[in-house]
Amino acid sequence: QQQVKQSPQSLIVQKGGISIINCAYENTAFDYFPWYQQFPGKGPALLIAIRPDVSEKKEGRFTISFNKSAKQFSLHIMDSQPGDSATYFCAASRTSNYQLIWGAGTKLIIKP
């Protein structure tokens, strides 16, 4: 019930392509879904987040799509650039709870 399942484990995309990372959750009480980006040797940093009252949120080239009925959400990176190469983590939590439940991460490589 507490798990967040993330796929794929790794992803290689050509420069200019669309990168798509998917996450699924089980706990319907979750109401906050952030994505974090981590570069090698650095800590994760919040990239973008969504609440279930909207189906999509876009910030620049990054978009979260949210499907409440399917209990799934995904990160889309448009016009992927080599600088986007990093590990991406999805997570979920309840507003009333401090603890984030993390996905296992996706290592994204953008080929020039």
Partner: protein, 115 residues
């Protein structure tokens, strides 16, 4: 502005030794988290501090692990009698308060290697 600071950035020690890892959260942040990240893996929650409340220690893997937070600011994570399986990156994060969708701000971690 200053972010979350962790020290040391790297620590190599022999099996059986004790180690102390330090975290300086962002000033004014009342919530502090410790995580462990093994090579190529996700984040494993260890412990959570919120203000003066009793910490949530539910993620500590064994009684060799302990943490404290003095004066609601700096935190130290102590691992006693280290084992090779303790080798990992230990990450600290802080947020203005726990819950309420507050983003967690991470330090760059301490890379711990047990020989």
């Amino acid at each position: 502005g200053a972010g979350v600071s962790q020290s040391p950035s790297n620590k190599v020690t022999e099996k059986g030794k004790d180690v102390e890892l330090r975290c300086d959260p962002i000033s004014g942040h009342t919530a502090l988290y410790w995580y462990r990240q093994s090579l190529g893996q996700g984040l494993e929650f260890l412990i959570y501090f919120q203000g003066n409340s009793a910490p949530d220690k539910s993620g500590l893997p064994s009684d060799r692990f302990s943490a404290e937070r003095t004066g609601g600011s700096v935190s130290t994570l102590t691992i006693q009698r280290t084992q090779q399986e303790d080798s990992a990156v230990y990450l600290c994060a802080s947020s203005p308060r726990g819950g309420d969708n507050q983003p967690q701000h991470f330090g760059d971690g301490t890379r711990l290697s047990i020989l």
